[in-house]
Structure formats: C-alpha cells, structure tokens
C-alpha cells in the first residue's frame, strides 16, 4: 500500500518549495519547516515499496487499429517506476541535500526561504528524472532542474555566480531545445512517449535517419546535463562559482542525472553502436581534460570542480560501454564519487570560511591549525582517487575490469591514468594548503579553523568519511544489487 508514497517523492518537495517561498522573511518558520521537510524527504524513499505508480490511474489499453501505432498495448498514464536503483539514488540525493539545508540553516544568520525552495525544487526535479518512465516528463524536470541549479548558484551573490548562471542557462536553453526536438521526432514517428512503449516500438527499428537524428539530439542533451566534453567548462564554472555546500549538492545531482538519462538512452537505443562510440569518445575526452585541467588550477575550488567533472567522464565511460558489468560499476562509481567528492567540497568550504580565500598563493601551513580537517581531507582525497580501503577503489577496479572484458583494454589504461592524474592534482591541493610553509595566511588573519568548525559541518564530514570507508570495506550489499539492476536493464536489449 506504501507505493502510494512514490509520487510523494516529487510532490512533497514541490509543495515544500512553494511553502518555503511564501515563508521567506519569517526566519524561524523557514528554519523549522526546512529542517522538518528534510526529515520527510529522507524518510519517504526508505518507506516506499517498490512498484509503479500511474498518474490518474489510467491503465494500459489495447491500441485502436486505426491509430497507426504498431504496439499491442500502450500506456496512457504518466508512469513513475521505483526500484532499488531509484531508492539508492534518491536517498543519496536526499542525504547530501539535507547537509546543504542544515548547513544553511545553522551557519547563516538569516535563513533564506527562496534559497531553500530552490534546493527543494532541485530535489523534486532530480527525483522525477530518476523515476519517470515518460520521456517528456523527464524533459520538463530537466528544465526545472536547470533553472533551480542556476538560482542556487546565483544565491551566493557575487558577480562570478551570475556569469556562470547566465552561461549555464543560455546553453541549457539550447540543450533543452535539442532534447525536446529529439522527443518531438520520436513522438512524430511512433506516437508514444512512455519509455517502455517507445523501447518496444523502437526494437530493431533504429536505422531510419529521423530516429538517428533524435538519438543525436538526445545525446547532446545528455552531454549538457551531465557536464561532459563541450559543456565541461560550463559545469566546472558552475561548481566553482557556487558555495561549497551547493557545489556538493550540484555535483551529486549531476552524477545522478547522468546515470538516469544514460539508462534511458540505453533502454531506448541500447543496440546502437554509433551512439555507444560517441558516448565513449566524449567521456574519454572529458576525463582527460577534466583531470588535466584540475592539475593546472591555482584555486582549490576550481581544482575540485574540474576533478569532479573528470570523474563524471569516468562514470560516463562505463555506462556507454553498455555491458552489464560496465553499467553496474558505473552506477556504483557514481554513488561512491558523489559521496567522496561531497566530503572534499565540504572540507574546502571550511577552508574558505576560515581563510576567506582558496587561492593557493595565499594558503599554506594549515596543518597545525586544523589537524582534524587535514585528516578528513586526506581521507576524501584517498576515497576519490581510488586508494584501497575506500569506496572508489572498489568501483574503479570493477570499472577497469569491465573495460577489459568489453574488449577495450586501452580504456582500462585511460581510466588508470585519469585516476592517477586526479590523485596528483588533489594531493597538490592538499600540499599547497596544509603542508607548504607560508606567511601569507598570517597576513589574512589566522583562521581558527579547528575551533570554529561548526558542529553540523564536522558531523557531516565524519559521517561521509565513515560511509566512504564502510562501502569500501563492504561493497557487496550495494554492488550486487546494482549488478542485478544492470542485468535486468541489458536483458531487453
């Protein structure tokens, strides 16, 4: 009976967004409601049972003969499907979003209702994209996601955020147009929007130029939403212009949306070798440029932003291979990387709060000031770059194995190289921040980093580090179920 809770994962954040927007200005109400709402947002995906929800309860019907739709049955309602993958991704999103909300309500003097409502809007949008079994519903929520992400970046208030948001929204308009045009072409050809129906209609029918154009347009939309190659500069600009807790949320959302859209593409056009080649190629280029650009940055936030984009390329490689092992390892890596990258973004947030800058030329010698922070950051660095006891090691080595098994040994080498470059870049950041002798920090007022660590931030960092370690020690429960998801996904192809 709890499958009634499925639409609540989208509807509740939407209603909360409206309410929080109305409450703006009433500081206490915003704080209390924001915190309580996050409890619900976290609880609902855990309580809901697996199943499908049909909006308006329209059942599937036999296709009338004269409509020209070559399917036995078509689904009339907008359909949300909820399984283990959806539960894991939405819970991950809710956890990171809770941190963003709590850090806002506990660290800011005045809680902003508008900002929290944008966080809620993005939660609703990502949940809907993950669950929607309807390609137009996916598009609508992707557009909402773009707007709310731009608004969250703007919330920081400095001019760099406005510039990044402007670029993001303009190219978001182009990419959204591309997705909708692709949907329009598919709708004009097959007459259905439900992904299951569309997949049935498409099976063995993907060779016509109209369908291929639609695939190309949808792939362009996927590239934008997940920040892959031509859009990687925009994504990294967005991450580094936002506040760090927002950046942690943004990169989590990006990785979840990457996985969700790639799975939709695989369900629709899984057998298409062109598409898989294009996706692998652009993912490899993203990995190369993202991690190499991270090396040459002079600002810790920009370094992390490029490293996050490079890791998204890593996730894209496994998904576009299209084998069950690759898909499972990629989803697993998306989850692990979102957790570990969030940990790193939070540590950099603390440095920024304490030192009021993240330029390497003005940082240094913080190890004696903030030993706890240094310890947590080194855990985050090891977790991101796949050092054995932590979680990304488990997924990266499975990813490399999947690349070898799919017959792309050079991709395995590329993944190893990318991991090494990311590790070197992050260690460079760690060295320049914590170990390098510096007098510059003295000049900007010795930050009392260790003592001033807010409780919420410190607790979040410890929890994230423990989760990274826990998944690294026991990858089985999570990975095996992702593997099941991947096998059922590739069975239909």
């Amino acid at each position: 009976m709890n499958s009634e809770l499925i639409p609540l994962m989208v509807v509740f954040p939407l209603i909360s967004a409206i309410l929080l927007n109305l409450m703006h200005g009433k500081d206490r109400a915003v704080r209390v409601y924001g915190t309580l709402a996050m409890v619900v947002v976290i609880a609902v995906p855990l309580l809901a049972v697996y199943g499908n929800h049909l909006f308006g309860a329209h059942p599937a019907i036999d296709t009338p003969a004269e409509t020209g739709i070559a399917l036995g049955r078509i689904n009339l309602a907008i359909e949300y499907s909820f399984g283990f993958l959806q539960r894991a991704l939405i819970f991950l999103l809710a956890a990171i979003a809770t941190f963003a909300v709590l850090s806002h309500t506990s660290n800011e003097k005045r809680a902003s209702g508008v900002y929290l409502s944008m966080v809620m809007l993005s939660i609703a949008a990502v949940s809907a994209v993950v669950m929607a079994n309807d390609i137009f519903n996916m598009f609508v929520f992707l557009e909402i996601l773009t707007i709310s992400q731009a608004a969250m970046v703007v919330a920081k208030g400095d001019i760099g955020g406005y510039k990044a948001a402007l670029k993001y929204l303009i190219f978001g308009g182009v990419a959204g147009g591309a997705i909708l045009l692709g949907i329009a072409l598919l709708l004009g050809t097959f007459g259905v929007l439900n992904i299951t129906d569309l997949g049935n209609a498409l099976s063995g029918n993907t060779k016509s130029p109209i369908v291929l154009t639609a695939v190309g347009l949808l792939v362009i939309g996927w590239l934008f939403e997940s920040g892959l190659f031509p859009f990687h500069t925009i994504k990294s600009h967005i991450y580094s212009s936002a506040k760090a807790d927002v950046a942690a949320l943004l990169q989590t959302e990006t990785k979840i949306v990457l996985v969700a859209i790639a799975i939709i593409l695989l369900r629709l056009f899984g057998g298409l070798s062109n598409m898989s080649a294009v996706m692998v190629g652009l993912s490899v280029i993203t990995l190369a440029f993202g991690s190499v650009m991270a090396l040459v940055q002079t600002d810790f936030r920009r370094l992390l932003a490029f490293a996050a984009v490079g890791q998204a390329g890593l996730v894209g490689i496994g998904l576009s291979l299209g084998t069950p092992d690759g898909i499972a390892a990629s989803i697993f890596h998306a989850v692990n990387d979102a957790l570990a990258m969030s940990l790193l973004f939070v540590t950099v947030f603390v440095i920024y709060e304490g030192a009021k800058t993240t330029e390497f030329s003005r940082l240094g010698g913080l190890l004696t000031k903030a030993p706890r922070l240094a310890f947590l950051q080194i855990i985050g660095i090891m977790a991101v770059s796949g050092v054995p006891p932590f979680n990304a090691y488990q997924s990266e080595y499975r990813l490399i194995g999947a690349a070898f098994q799919a017959g792309y040994p050079e991709l395995g080498v590329v993944i190893i190289l990318g991991t090494i470059v990311t590790f070197v870049a992050l260690m460079k950041g760690f060295f320049l921040t914590f170990l390098k002798e510096s007098t510059a920090v003295a000049a900007i007022g010795r930050p009392q980093l260790s003592n001033a660590l807010p409780l919420v931030t410190f607790a979040t960092m410890v929890i994230l580090a423990l989760v990274c370690l826990g998944i690294g020690l026991h990858p089985g429960p999570l990975y095996d179920r992702f593997a099941d998801v991947a096998i059922t996904l590739t069975m239909g192809v």
Binding site: A150, I159, K163, I170, G176
Partner: protein, 127 residues
C-alpha cells in the same frame, strides 16, 4: 493555389532554430542572445504543433453539443492530434520562466559591468 502548409511550417521551424543558434553564437549583445534562446524554443514548439496538425481537421476541443448530436465519432476522426499541443503548452511556460531568470541575471550583470556586451563581461576569463 495549393501549398503544403505542414511542409512550410517545418521549414520555418528549422529557420527559427537556425536563426536562434546564430544569435546565440555570434551576437554580442546579451538581449539578442536571449532572443536567440527564445527563437530556438519557438522553433521546437512549431515542430511539435505542426506534428499535431491534420489538414482539413477540426480543433480538438470537445463540446456538449457534439455529445448531444451524437457526432463524437466524427470528432475522433477529424480532430487534430492534441498530445503535442499539451507538450507545447508546458514548454512555452518553461521557456518563459527561463527567459525571465535570464533577463534578471542580465540586469544584474549590467549593473556591475555597465555593459551588455558578452565579450566585455567575460573579458577577464580569457586565460
């Protein structure tokens, strides 16, 4: 004179998308770039509307009179395909809200840089 309206609508939709992309890529002024984003959206909307169009059909709005006269079957035969129209309705609203946010951001950028030129605004980002 017998012209295929559907074909020419598709052509115009393509032209709108191309003009919009041109404006986004080559126009320096921010307001014109935003107009370009709007034109891309309009072009895509026109594609969808034209897909739903049925030559010689009727508007897909059912009325009580149709029920009472028993002409519902004729209605089902003649009416245009209304699913794309619903999609366009959603997309128009989304496009308008994106546009509003973009215009707000450009006012803010103008107040800081005293200019609407994109080359000027992004000048310092040239590494």
């Amino acid at each position: 004179m017998n012209v295929d309206v559907q074909l020419w609508s598709f052509v115009v939709a393509g032209l709108l998308v191309i003009i919009g992309l041109y404006a986004i890529a080559f126009m320096d002024n921010l307001v014109k770039k935003i107009i370009g984003v709007m034109l891309v959206g309009d072009g895509v909307n026109l594609v969808l509307i034209t897909e739903g169009f049925k030559p010689g059909g009727i508007v897909p709005i059912i009325s009580e009179k149709l029920f009472s006269s028993g002409a519902v079957g004729d209605f089902a035969n003649d009416a245009a395909y209304s699913l794309p129209f619903a999609l366009v309705l959603t997309n128009i609203v989304i496009g308008a809200s994106t546009l509003a946010v973009l215009l707000g951001i450009s006012i803010k950028l103008y107040q800081h840089y005293r200019s609407l030129s994109v080359a000027h605004i992004f000048q310092e980002d040239d590494a």
